[in-house]
Symmetry: C2
């Protein structure tokens, strides 16, 4: 079945309508819509509008607070701990990122952790927020549900805990690296199950230590860490820096099923002001040089061209302005159901 | 051939004697010796006393400055850029770590970058320095020589650029994760070549995209990134954050051979004060809980026990107090040569 497409502005309108219908104030609804659409435009179709149905359900049931009072719990000149009051992750993290950027402007670096937050969508978005201020951004999040076993084990005790880093450039698209610490993100596995595509070996293993390739059976196994023990260690330290430090659950407290709300998700964002190390233009031009070297370097046999992290997402972003955003059939069905239940206009598709 | 062993204090004395003989001041020689021996005691035998011969050669030839004037070039309340004056990496990085810790004490976080530094030994050492101050430590370094190709390419344009993160605990050994962004570090490949051991597939590939398993031929290929494109991206962003931001070479400027001195190595250290997020004891006890859960979780068939990053290094550290440190035959020969050339006493071996 061919995918339908929608235009960014239409998607944005639909998201705002849906969120408003479940009690999210206009300003917050716009923030969330902008971030979801930006995610889709950069081609991360598992973390954009595809997550709206889950969010709407949780907002309706009270599992997520539609009108949070986000506030600072602890503060030092360059750090802060933010309580998200169980609001949407996009709202909490936008607050946290703004605060980290302000602190970096004054002191060179800012680090803000969150508690009582929720899933905030793609990690890249928050790492990218400092870019416009000539800053490097780094974002860590603790996934709500445990899917990864420690290396050598089979009990799921860690999430897919992602890291994203964004680095400013001058004329080239910014360097944006956004990865789960598991080989595959949970979103990609759900998408495979949805379309009935088998999983490559190395994504999921069963209790017997053997690969599970049937995507419908992924839930019986645990996700493998990227780079074996290296990814396990990164997932663990990121969980402690982005979660436990902020007082959010890690390990058995986080659980493997859908925990009773609130999810109490933990995140952390760092902004590092490049102007405190020399002229920003110099660093940004140097980064242009480095990514061009990568891009123009000789590819291995069978590889068309070497890429650098962020260039693909940027190209998709540019293309989506005219070509729109692809909508997977299963997501399309869910969005239509939302429209019906909430009595809002259906998402307008691209003709 | 069975390994010889030496006791930590004897190793320390030998390193101080050797460094003093090539003009390193007493205080700096002690700093370097303490860090090299700590590296060996934690079982990272490729980055401790094994690197002394290279360092001595470079100090003698003037490729490294034995009497550097390490100074702050740029400074903001929570950040600094340090010029290492081409001194030994251990001296430059000890200065940088102390500064980052001071800044974190006042402001919650400190980030210090270095330029005109040199190889500083194991990354874990610097990440661990903030631990005693109830801080999380993170360290990035740009390896001097390019060994890794961007994912999909075969030109070596990046180093093995490591990251190390250390997180304080209460009663358990601290969590210390120290990894190269390549599957194998260059030190492990040299050690394999030294002992004639073949390389596992997945460490090195040739220009034809096929694995190189003959350790003597490793130089013909490039090191593979851990976790495929994920490790490539991490190696790239760490190089920019730990190197280019500080004005040190990345990409083609870094080169694939032994560049003409100075090596102008770049590093970065971050210290994050956990007391700015809540009572330190609470976080440290929670980390104890998490690592115990990992350790006590069910292992896969054929795995004896699940481990967490840092526990193995700590156990080796404790054992080395009585059992000493193993000395590889090739390193032993080199150290004896140093003793002869510098007219200092040979390293005393454990009886």
């Amino acid at each position: 079945m061919a995918s339908a497409f929608f235009m960014p502005d239409d998607g944005r309108r639909f998201i705002i309508d849906a969120l408003s219908a479940v009690g999210v104030p206009q300003g917050d609804a716009q923030t969330i819509a902008d971030l979801m659409i930006l995610t889709d435009r950069r081609g991360i179709d598992t973390h954009g509008i595809a997550r709206l149905p889950v969010s709407i359900n949780r907002l309706k049931s009270g599992a997520i607070n539609p009108t949070p009072k986000v506030r600072i719990l602890e503060e030092a000149p360059s750090t802060a701990l933010v309580d998200g009051d169980n609001g949407m992750g996009q709202v909490v993290m936008s607050f946290a990122a703004k605060l980290a950027i302000e602190k970096a402007k004054t002191n060179g670096i800012g680090w803000v952790g969150t508690r009582m937050s929720n899933h905030a969508g793609a990690a890249a978005l928050y790492a990218m927020m400092p870019l416009a201020h000539d800053m490097i951004g780094m974002y860590l999040a603790v996934a709500e549900i445990n899917h990864m076993a420690p290396w050598g084990g089979f009990e799921a005790l860690l999430g897919t805990n992602p890291i994203a880093v964004a680095i400013p450039t001058m004329d080239e698209p910014p360097i944006v690296h956004d990865i789960a610490t598991t080989v595959a993100s949970n979103g990609r596995i759900s998408a495979a199950a949805e379309s009935g595509t088998p999983l490559p070996e190395g994504w999921v293993i069963g209790k017997d230590g053997k690969p599970i390739t049937d995507s419908k059976r992924a839930g019986e196994g645990t996700l493998l860490p990227m780079g074996d023990y290296k990814g396990y260690g990164l997932g663990l330290v990121f969980a402690l820096m982005g979660g436990a430090l902020n007082g959010t659950p890690v390990g058995r407290d986080a659980g493997t099923g859908n925990r009773a709300p609130p999810s109490n998700t933990g995140q952390a964002i760092m902004a590092l002001d490049i102007s405190k190390f020399g002229p920003p233009e110099q660093f940004k031009r140097y980064n242009d040089k480095v990514v061009r070297e990568m891009r123009e370097s000789k590819p291995l046999p069978g590889v068309e061209r070497v890429r650098y992290p962020g260039e693909g997402g940027h190209a998709k972003y540019v293309a989506s302005a005219k070509g729109g955003i692809a909508l997977r059939p299963a997501v399309h069905t869910q969005l239509d159901k939302i429209a019906e239940t909430l009595k809002i206009e259906k998402l307008t598709l691209k003709q």
